[in-house]
Amino acid sequence: MAFFRAKIPALAIYVGIFVAWWLVTAFGWVEPIILPSPRAVGGAFREMTVNGSLLKDLGVTGGRVLAALVIASIIGIPLGLFFGYQKKIYEMVEGPLHALRSVPATCLFPLLLIVIGVGEKSIITLAAYPCLLILMVNAATGASLAEPSRVRQGRILGLTPFNLITEVLFFEALPHVTSALRTSVSYALVLVVAVEMFIGVGQSGLGRKIFDYQSSFRIPETYAEILVTGALGVALNISIGLLEKRLLRWLPQTANVGKRSS
């Protein structure tokens, strides 16, 4: 019961927003072309769920976001840990890396189209790119902030450089990496949806559908797709939160050991 009591104010706000939505549409204060009624959006949602198109869009977009995150992690985290281990090399590349990170990823999209071509690959590459940089920089920072005594102990226990990275530095960097993952998830979703609006590979994906429905003035469907995209974002954030909790179960929330960055 305590759980529900704590959630009541939060729930009340959602209910309030819904009631306000219903009111402004029911009394015709807003044109349906700008904001359709909850009933119309619900109908569109039901129809797209029944014919399976919504689930397909969700799967396609979600899959692209996950693919981008996995690729970015597989390349970015080990590379960052290596840089954290070889600080001399990192110092050399740090400047260009930060400069690269400041270039909006979307700027590179036209170039990617030339290099990779229009297709699944260019969508995932564009989304993976900034995530890779974020993960790499954070892994490098985390690894270079590793407690020197523990690193030294690993070394004198005879760990090879590879094991030193996987068994010591990886865990020292983990609090930084998980917070980088949180940032990356948002980036990946934004970029995938935006690029889907540009190029419709296979004519599916939430971004593509939002754009298409809007172009054909099917506003309730547009809203349904937007709401599902939002739900996907929420679900991804919750998943990352759970993953973080699991990976850092050895670290109390108040501990200063990992110097958690936000």
Partner: protein, 257 residues
């Protein structure tokens, strides 16, 4: 018992060191400092705060990067694992991501010991340091005293020839302090481990040490070097304890003030 009659564990010769770097005008913390520490004994290093006790510990543990002079460990203690400095902060010694049990078994596994002998050895250390109840917990979720005991148990797991304990016993609560003192005395007596005990606490030195060195301030000098030749286990009623205590109090009072 005089100091010179045991085999040397480590010899510090002509050591000069300063935290300010090479080009300072101030007097260095250490200047042409010499000290020989005997093997298989407990040597307490005492002195006021800022007297350079911890620096000496780090010097012995190989944690100081740049100093002049030589620190020579005898052949059997020469490996870095065999003269390990246990930091005042136990978090620097254990790995937070491993459970208490994993923390103790990890060094042994890395040293490629047989798995079945590791399990028995780990269980013994857990018992000896009263950590069995928290064996499956992650160390940052245990008490400060348990963390300190874990740090020592982890280091002892690889059976080092010498350990340097920096203000270690003061981090323990009264009940476990006696337990750890007994354990440390046991490993010195049975395994011939060399212990350097850096402390500002007279009682700790009196209870455990065979020899007590009192450091004077900048540049560090040896104010007194006293053998504490009392039977174990020691407490206030041990014959000779009060005399040794009075002698130390005298020196500390005159040396520091």
């Amino acid at each position: 018992m005089t100091i010179a009659d045991t085999e040397a564990a480590v010899e510090i010769k002509d050591v000069s060191f300063s935290y300010d770097g090479e080009n300072d005008d101030h007097a260095p913390l250490y200047k042409d400092f010499d000290l020989v520490i005997g093997r298989a004994r407990v040597t307490a290093i005492m002195g006021a705060s800022g007297s350079g006790k911890s620096t000496l510990g780090k010097l012995l543990g190989g944690e100081l990067a740049s100093y002049h002079g030589t620190v020579t460990w005898s052949q059997q203690l020469a490996s870095e694992l065999d003269h390990f400095y246990i930091d005042q902060d136990p978090k620097k010694v254990f790995f937070p991501r491993q459970t208490v049990r994993e923390n103790i078994s990890y060094p042994a596994r890395k040293r490629r010991h047989a798995p079945d002998s590791i399990d028995a050895w780990v269980d013994r250390l857990l018992t000896d340091f009263k950590l069995t109840a928290v064996a499956e917990r992650f160390p940052l979720f245990t008490s400060g005293g348990q963390q300190s005991r874990l740090a020592l148990a982890r280091v002892l797991s690889w059976r080092p020839q010498a350990v340097i304990l920096d203000e270690y016993l003061s981090s323990l609560d009264v009940n476990t302090r006696q337990l750890v003192i007994t354990n440390l005395h046991q490993i010195v007596a049975k395994e011939g481990t060399t212990i350097v005990l850096i402390t500002h606490n007279l009682t700790e030195a009196l209870k455990l040490a065979d020899r007590c060195i009192i450091l004077g301030k900048k540049p560090v000098s040896i104010l007194a070097d006293i053998a504490i030749d009392l039977p174990h286990p020691r407490d206030e009623s041990t014959p000779g304890y009060q005399d040794a205590e009075n002698a130390l109090i005298n020196i500390l009072r005159h040396g520091i003030l």
